[in-house]
């Protein structure tokens, strides 16, 4: 295995284990899907105009991935700062990018559980049908969405190196992104000027791909866009991280004091 692949695989395993060892995180991950599938069901009943019950349920599932990603990537740096590991990680020969990348993928992929659980709870509690139009595309669209969301998380996290209170900001971003990317309501229901913002966000395209794969339509183009955006986020995130780490060394914001 190449060094990069090992760093990602081992980092992923390390961060999944570290997160799942946190009782708070586990409890939230267990209850959130129940909450989300309930919300999705009632929102659907209250009169979403498009699609089926499964449409709403999938939206709730991707929302779960997004919350886990935001929670994880927003927290990654402030936890590390609080634990005192940030300084240790930053000066490790591998470099902090190789810590943060697997960490954001790890939190996004823990969110995968949330998607599955939301669908399962939807089925058990509300009898949401689970009929998938293109099973293969559906199976591919999910990791692609996880990747897209994870890389958006990386991009956001890269700015948190510099600002000690930035993860409050990340919590504030949770709902705007949910709206703008059409997870809660269809994009067509939003004001026209908001839509272009949604086009820049991977959750929008990931969501489209997942829905197209499940409910019918061509899932491949939105999947392509999701992968492209993930690449762009990754590149930008890596650049920002370099810049901000350099600034953090000047401003002494890596330690807690």
């Amino acid at each position: 295995m190449s060094r990069a692949a090992r760093l990602i695989a081992i980092g992923w395993r390390h961060h999944v284990r570290n997160l799942t060892a946190s009782r708070f995180f586990v409890v939230t991950s267990v209850f959130l899907p129940i909450l989300l599938s309930t919300v999705a069901f009632f929102m659907f009943r209250a009169g979403a105009r498009e699609g089926t019950l499964l449409y709403a349920s999938l939206g709730a599932g991707v929302m779960g991935i997004w919350s886990s990603t935001l929670f994880g990537s927003g927290g990654a740096i402030s936890w590390a700062r609080r634990e005192g590991t940030l300084e240790v990680l930053v000066v490790s020969p591998a470099g902090y990018f190789w810590v943060l990348l697997p960490q954001t993928i790890a939190t996004a992929s823990i969110g995968l559980y949330s998607l599955v659980a939301t669908l399962v709870w939807g089925r058990l509690l509300f009898g949401v049908p689970f009929a998938i139009a293109h099973p293969l595309a559906f199976v591919v669209s999910i990791p692609v969405t996880v990747l897209g969301l994870g890389m958006l998380g990386l991009l956001m996290a890269s700015t948190f190196v510099l600002y000690r209170h930035a993860n409050a900001l990340s919590n504030m971003l949770e709902f705007p992104v949910l709206f703008v990317s059409g997870l809660l309501v269809p994009l067509s229901a939003l004001p026209v000027w908001v839509r272009p913002v949604g086009w820049l966000l991977a959750p929008t395209w990931g969501m489209r791909a997942v829905r197209a794969a499940a409910l019918g339509g061509n899932p491949w183009p939105p999947m392509g866009v999701t992968v492209g955006l993930a690449g762009a986020y990754l590149t930008l995130g890596a650049l920002f991280l370099r810049l901000f780490l350099r600034l953090a060394r000047e401003r002494a914001t890596l330690a807690l004091t």
Partner: protein, 326 residues
């Protein structure tokens, strides 16, 4: 002569701190004010100084965590600002205290992850990790979660972490803090072994006997400046080439220290508060015979102990640091 392993020239670092919630003002704290020193291969160099002197700040600049405000520093010839990647590969460092570990994971998991980040070749990781667990005396406890470790155990885990990639240069910032006496002694043996193995070590500590026992050379730093530098014996000689008389007294007269200073042959007097009593530490010239005069100078005080001894590094340190603040 080979090139020095650590070279520091005119290093400065200021911090900006803002105070006040409403009317914010920015203050500049001058933590390190232009220090220079160099450490040769295989040396154990000590950086001593009171709290807030700038020791940790200096180390953080050397390990590439902080960018100096001005001045330069090189480690193994690599500039700590422009060639930070090269520096990072070749250094290990350990901070005192119990933070900086993944508490919810086991000691072994911690070391495994850092071994990967430090680029220890996969085939060697396991052997290396168990070698270090052995070295720091954590063998058998590696499977337990770090949150259940005592402070000393965490500190040992830090030491193991810092040495995983077998770095040629090691920075140790108060590595024995919080470790019990037996454990601290073992850690000191470990440090001595590092130097025997040819590594270069920069150590900070508040324990003078530790510095005296381990360091080839010491720089005393106070208020961000180096006030003295040399071998432990040179530092002792710099302050006094004589003897030290300690007088422990109950109810000494006011101005007792001044009275002691007037005794001929006395170079310096420092006072330490002990529970009820005061301890006067008198540094005097070699061949000093004025102990009776010292006792007389304290008048009616009840003396519980009078002893003459050789000067220690601590005497030299206290004199240097007080000299710097006076």
């Amino acid at each position: 002569m080979t090139a020095p392993v650590i070279e520091v020239e005119g290093l400065r670092r200021t911090y900006r701190v803002s105070t006040g919630a409403v009317r914010r003002r920015t203050l500049e704290v001058e933590a390190v004010r232009g220090i220079s020193f160099s450490v040769g291969e295989g040396e154990l160099f000590g950086l001593l100084g009171p709290n807030g002197a700038g020791k940790t700040t200096t180390i953080k600049m050397l390990i590439t965590l902080l960018v100096p405000t001005s001045g330069t520093a090189r480690v193994l010839g690599f500039d700590v600002v422009r060639q930070s990647r090269e520096v990072r590969k070749r250094i290990g460092y350990v901070f005192g205290g119990d933070r900086g570990l993944y508490d919810r994971l086991s000691g072994l998991d911690n070391l495994r992850y850092f071994a990967e980040l430090y680029g220890v070749p996969p085939r060697e990781q396991k052997r290396r990790i168990f070698e270090l667990l052995d070295l720091v005396g954590l063998n058998g406890r590696e499977g337990e979660r770090v949150e259940g470790y005592s402070r000393g155990m965490r500190q040992r885990l830090h030491v193991a972490r810092g040495l995983l990639h077998d770095p040629p240069v090691v920075f140790l910032d108060e590595p024995t803090i919080g470790v019990d006496p037996v454990g601290a002694r073992e850690l000191r043996a470990t440090m001595a072994a590092l130097v025997s193995a040819g590594k270069t070590v920069l150590l900070t500590t508040h324990y003078m006997f530790e510095a005296d026992a381990l360091c080839n050379r010491i720089a005393v730093i106070a208020k961000g400046q180096i006030v003295a530098e040399g071998s432990p014996s040179a530092l002792k000689a710099m302050v006094t080439d004589g003897v030290v008389v300690e007088l422990e007294a109950y109810d000494p007269p006011p101005g007792g220290a001044d009275a002691l200073r007037r005794v001929p042959g006395v170079a310096r007097v420092t006072v330490e508060e002990r529970d009820q009593a005061q301890l006067f530490v008198v540094q005097a010239a070699a061949g000093f015979e004025g102990t009776p005069e010292l006792i007389a100078a304290l008048g009616d005080a009840r003396l519980t102990r009078v002893a003459t001894r050789e000067p220690t590094l601590e005497d030299a340190y206290v004199a240097l640091v007080e000299g710097a603040s006076g």
